[in-house]
Amino acid sequence: MRRKPADTVRQFVALSRRSTLAIFRQPALVGPSLIFPLFFAALGSSSFSRAISLPGFPKVDSYLQFTLAGTVTQGVLFGSVTGAAALATDIEEGFFDRLLAAPTSRTSILFGRLAGSSLFGALQALIFLLALLPFGVTVQAGLLGYVSIVVAGFITAFAVGALMSVVALKTGSAEAVQGTFPVLFILLFLSSAFFPRETMSGAYRHIADFNPISYMVEGQRSLSIDGVSLVAITQTLVIPAGIAVLTTMLALRQLSVRLAAR
């Protein structure tokens, strides 16, 4: 069966709309991914106010300034679990099969589902940037910096959403998707999201050195503390984009496995 590209676009738009609305209609589900990162940021600003003068910390006015990038990344990672859990719920409740039974383009089902959480990721990034503004936390790189971080929020949410979709497509269980949440938590903590890599030691330091999340966060951090630089923008955008390509490929493969099994 051949489909016209125009149809695919229309289907994609319709499904995106649905997934986006679904997120905003479930405040209890998405609320925590906005509140917890801000809570930890507030906690850190009081707990680690004296840590910023330790050797290894960049020159910053406050811990809040340092942790901005970590807060954004933390929120986006946790928020993106919601979208993939919704995909698993679609599978559990049979809505997914109904979509497949219709002549809907296969990829638009996946991308439509991810569109909602990606938009939400961008929105989260924007909310965190604005929420910390009254506390004197600004992005030195100016408008370009703000835009880059918001776009990074979009891409990161897409990348993680695709990865979670692999789990959703493989297991068809929303619970299994929620169950991967601790893994994201561990990955985040094993990076330089909260303290600079320079202050870590031993095996832990090595893991953080290998963790791509470290470099993603550090790119955003550099934009916010130091200002515009090509390296910082590259780290901010290219790393999540690379991960997104990889996880999308995995998700598409898992989708075709699921389709073949029907």
Binding site: L43, S46, A51, L190, F195, T199, M200, S201, Y204
Partner: protein
Amino acid sequence: MSTGRSVGILAARSIRNIRRLPSAFFPALAMPIFNMVVFAGTFFAVTKIPGFPTDRSINWYMPLGIMMGAAFAGVGLGFTTIRDIETGFYDRLRMSPTSRMSLVIGPLMGTLTRVVMMTTVVIAIGIALGARFSGGVLGVLCLYIAALGLSTIGAGWGLGLAFIFKDMRGAAIMQLSIFLVMFLSSAQVPLNVMDGWLHTVARVNPATNILRLARVGLVNESNVDHLSFGAVWGGLLAILLMGGLSLGFALRQLRKLSN
């Protein structure tokens, strides 16, 4: 005498379920280990802040991991009780002529046994990762007492909420409240190192006292919070007071269950 037997058999049921429902016990064991490792690793340099009471980050975060685990193990009793209420099994317990006290104390004993197991495992791993008790056996004992005390407080709170809500809404409140109380304390850094709003809150949070008790055997010997009556009485008092209050709350809500 009959109360003692009831307590024993209800505790036995809870302990048996460690083996029969490992999927519930495993996270309760993994979470404290994970907390200990990632906090100690991420905030490795925190001990270099002037005035920090220990120079090993694992010494500071191992008790935190244990105490978080103990608190959540405590409210975990609320979870299992909600399940018993939902299946109707709790009606069976309530219909028996055994004392209401034993319906609370029995399962609590099971929870405390779990906490002792968890604490032992985390201490062993902590020591393997470099934690050192400056306070010797007495210091270890204080850590156990703090863990058992905190989980008792959590258990009373969890049970009371389970009796009020009777469904999983209660579980969400249990988790959130424990999470807030634990973090709005000296969980991450000691009082003398923090600034601003958190200092104001943590100073009056009883969890800070209990955490101090948990850490008396792990801070530097020269520190004021090292093993001494002055360092432990606040935590002991908090445990007695809060433990009494929360168990009273649980018992009162249990009696009100038939209203």
